[in-house]
Amino acid sequence: MQPLEALVGEAGAAAKHTAPPGDAVAEVARQMQICNACRYCEGFCAVFPAMTRRIEFGKAEVDYLANLCHNCGACLHACQYAPPHEFLVNVPQAMAKVRLQTYSDYAWPPALGKLYKNNGLALALALAAGLALFLALALALNGNLWQPALAGNFYRVFPHNLMVAMFAPVFLFALLAMGMSVRRFWYAVSPADRAREAPPAAATEATRDVLVMKYLDGGHGEGCNEADDEFTLWRRRFHHFTFYGFMLCFASTSVATLYHYLFDWHAPYALTSLPVLLGGAGGIGLLIGPAGLLWLNLSRHPLHGDARQKPMDRGFIALLLLVSASGMALLAWRDTGAMALLLALHLATVMALFLTLPYSKFMHGIYRAAALLKWAIEKRQPSRLQLGSE
């Protein structure tokens, strides 16, 4: 039985032991080989049905599946092969490691993908630069950070055209960089022989899946796992607060821009005006959402996700919190002498956020949306496999 002994040894190497550290793609491929022979988790999310349409897991497949994974944790707690089983299956963790790699691999321009290496530091440096810039600017323009006389007049501190000249290029660059990054991802995970065109129904479904964050519901509507095997909807709710808070703030700025250029109505706007109402609601959402996500992040089960990414996650959450807290403070004290200082602080955080947008945790939403669109397209196509009894 010499050959059989050898076989057992080889199989051990193939399935029982994790891939070499650093080869995150190979580790997902190893785990998918096990999952594909089990399939119990098919009802939780889109990752497993997408997996069953494949029998080989190269980088393109793994990058796609990793970004389709929402790290909800359901499959880990349900897994008969999770640690301490010798197969050491931990799909959420393996996927998280690959995700970080994809953010770096597909970043545009590619050289800036390095910013994911020490992302917490990158965010902190961006914030420090923003603070230095706006505080120095405020001092240079006004000679003083305490200006009781300005009472709500932002443009006396920073002229409107100056703000536009600073923010417009940064924002447009962020849009370009995010667009190029997701484009690189899309072409890499969708080889030319697979359909890339989205039929309307697929686009509608993907949009819905993004807007309601369908796959944070656990497949049964009771939510995902956080600290243990109990399900909770709080991660979905806090994501909704964050996402819609961000969108409301964005809407506020857009409306204010229209007011400015179309109607020649200039800030500051009344508390009952549309920009302030939208911004106020968005700011509250951006306070509650990230605060809740931080709390969940701190109490998360140690086996969930990739511990080394906590600085990236928490750095991004902290930056969002600083944006919303400084914005709300500005709204509260805009008619006092603190306005100039608060405005400088708020603009600094916003600048830091937009500078790092294409190189921060923000991108998880973009790649995930792309992965969800790909899933919505491919699920409408017949499977290429002809497995028995399917």
Binding site: M1, Q2, P3, L4, L7, V8, E10, A11, G12, A14, A15, K16, Q33, I34, N36, A37, C38, R39, Y40, C41, E42, G43, F44, P49, T52, I55, A74, C75, H77, A78, C79, Q80, Y81, P83, P84, H85, E86, F87, G219, H220, D229, E230, L385, Q386, L387, G388, S389, E390
Partner: protein
């Protein structure tokens, strides 16, 4: 450790134990569960289960069409060859028609049959996330209801008084209760007992070559204790749910992913490179449960499923990659088989294939002629390189030797039911399963008799209390 006096002790930590604990608690009893495994390995073989075979007269949420009681019973009678108890079987079957609402109340969720299991969409309700998700839900519900659960708590003997349960012993610790449910599984993890049960065939200790698909904690301690203490045994110790699995699987807990579904697409040879059974007798899902036993009787308890390039992509991908070769002699070398013997077997098989229209989704007309044993469906020559092989061994899911119970799940001693000792799950499944298996019936038996044992143990505890008060 000082223990309070419980109404009911449930010994075990799998599906049947949890069903019993939940039912007893719902009936008002104070309940202590003693699980021998540590928390991370809790749940016995239920960790590896995936569905429940359910009777239903009309389509239900995740179940298509209907599966009436009579058809279910006939299926069970067929796979067991009639070695079953009709009254107990029908009890379990009927319970399966309405237990799912109760299961859902305790957090179990269902999903339609998984990809690759369409043949079960009518008969089997799948657990969303599989058996471990079901266990997690039951444990959460039990803890919320106030069931006390102790892990790392192996009971080594019971204190009995002429068939009446008095207390459970864990080493030096004694825990008394008014009633007890034993749901501690079969004895398949006990290698020594398996060795003894199977004995030697042609000088080989057959069971030494078995793999255990499930938990390493089913040592059969209480099964042995009860039989020695005079409980009536039921079933044959060599009978079990035994399937052919990849020989490279781990010794314990390989679970579902070690199964190999390529058998019906090619041929299976033994260590002498000879075929020994009709690989195309029926659809694989209807035959997988006999191949473990077939391989048990082959030399070295080893066999090899051989396929060629035509079969790739037509069966569920197994967890381990196949052995691959460009020629049959090369494959024989890799497997350690005699090259000329394998070539002879394959040539003989290829020459006997009578053509026909291959259709793996139907019992097609591709048969062999003049070959022993024949291959009666899906017989296509193995002639297209590369060639592939999966080594197979018997994989034991659970053993059928158990204690005899009645319709109240009461353990029998010399034909008399115990007033307060009940059994559920694998330790009594042999009452219904004398041999053979059909998917999801283990969970049907465990759920039904777990629920019965739980309710009966609570009632027995109540009787004991009234008796003591009077």
């Amino acid at each position: 450790m000082a223990e309070r006096d419980y109404d009911v002790i449930v010994i075990g930590g799998g599906n049947a134990a949890l069903c019993a604990a939940l039912m007893a608690r719902e009936a008002g009893a104070s309940v202590l569960m003693l699980e021998s495994a540590p928390r991370e390995w809790r749940g016995g073989n239920s960790q590896h289960t995936r569905n429940l075979r359910c009777m239903h007269d009309a389509p239900q949420d995740v179940l298509t069409d209907s599966y009436p009681e009579e058809e279910y019973w006939q299926d069970l009678k067929k796979v067991t060859g009639g070695i079953t108890s009709e009254s107990l079987a029908r009890l379990a079957i009927r319970d399966s028609s309405h237990c799912r609402d109760w299961m859902r109340r305790h957090g179990v969720r269902f999903q339609p049959s998984l990809s690759g299991t369409l043949q079960l969409s009518r008969t089997n309700a799948f657990f969303l996330g599989g058996g471990k998700a079901l266990l997690n839900a039951y444990y959460r519900s039990a803890e919320e209801l106030g069931v006390h659960v102790r892990y790392d708590a192996p009971v080594d003997r019971l204190e009995l008084d002429r068939g009446r349960f008095v207390a459970a012993h864990l080493g030096a610790e004694r825990i008394a209760a008014k009633a007890c449910v034993v749901a501690s599984g079969g004895f398949e993890s006990n290698r020594e007992w398996m060795r003894e049960a199977w004995g030697q065939i042609k000088g080989e200790w057959v069971a030494d070559n078995f793999l255990i698909r499930g938990t390493r904690f089913n040592m059969g301690v209480l099964l042995k204790f009860l039989i020695d203490a005079g409980a009536d045994p039921v079933g044959d110790p060599t009978q079990s749910h035994c399937v052919a699995i990849d020989a490279r699987a781990p010794l314990y807990d390989g679970g579902i992913c070690t199964r190999v579904d390529s058998v019906s697409l090619g041929i299976v040879v033994n260590r002498q490179a000879e075929r020994f059974y009709d690989e195309g007798e029926d659809f694989w899902p209807k035959r997988y449960a006999i191949w473990g036993r077939l391989i048990s009787y082959q030399p070295g308890q080893i066999a090899y499923s051989l396929i060629d390039a035509k079969a790739i992509g037509r069966f569920m991908p197994p967890v381990f990659p196949p052995l691959e070769a460009q020629s049959l002699p090369e494959l024989a070398r890799k497997l350690g088989l005699d090259e000329s013997a394998l070539t002879r077997t394959v040539d003989g098989f290829n020459a006997a294939c009578r053509g026909g229209t291959f259709d793996h989704a139907a019992l097609d007309d591709c048969v062999t002629a003049g070959l022993t044993p024949p291959k009666t469906h899906w017989a296509r020559p193995i002639d297209t390189a590369p060639f592939y092989a999966y080594p197979l061994r018997p994989g034991i899911t659970f053993t059928y030797l158990g204690v005899k119970v009645d319709e109240r799940a009461a353990v029998h001693f010399s034909g008399q039911p115990s007033p307060n000792l009940f059994a559920a799950g694998e330790i009594m499944a042999g009452n219904v399963l004398g041999k053979g298996y059909t998917a999801g019936v283990g969970m049907t038996i465990g759920t039904a008799f777990g629920r019965i044992a739980g309710a009966q143990s609570a009632a027995a505890a109540m009787r004991e209390k009234m008796h003591a008060a009077a």
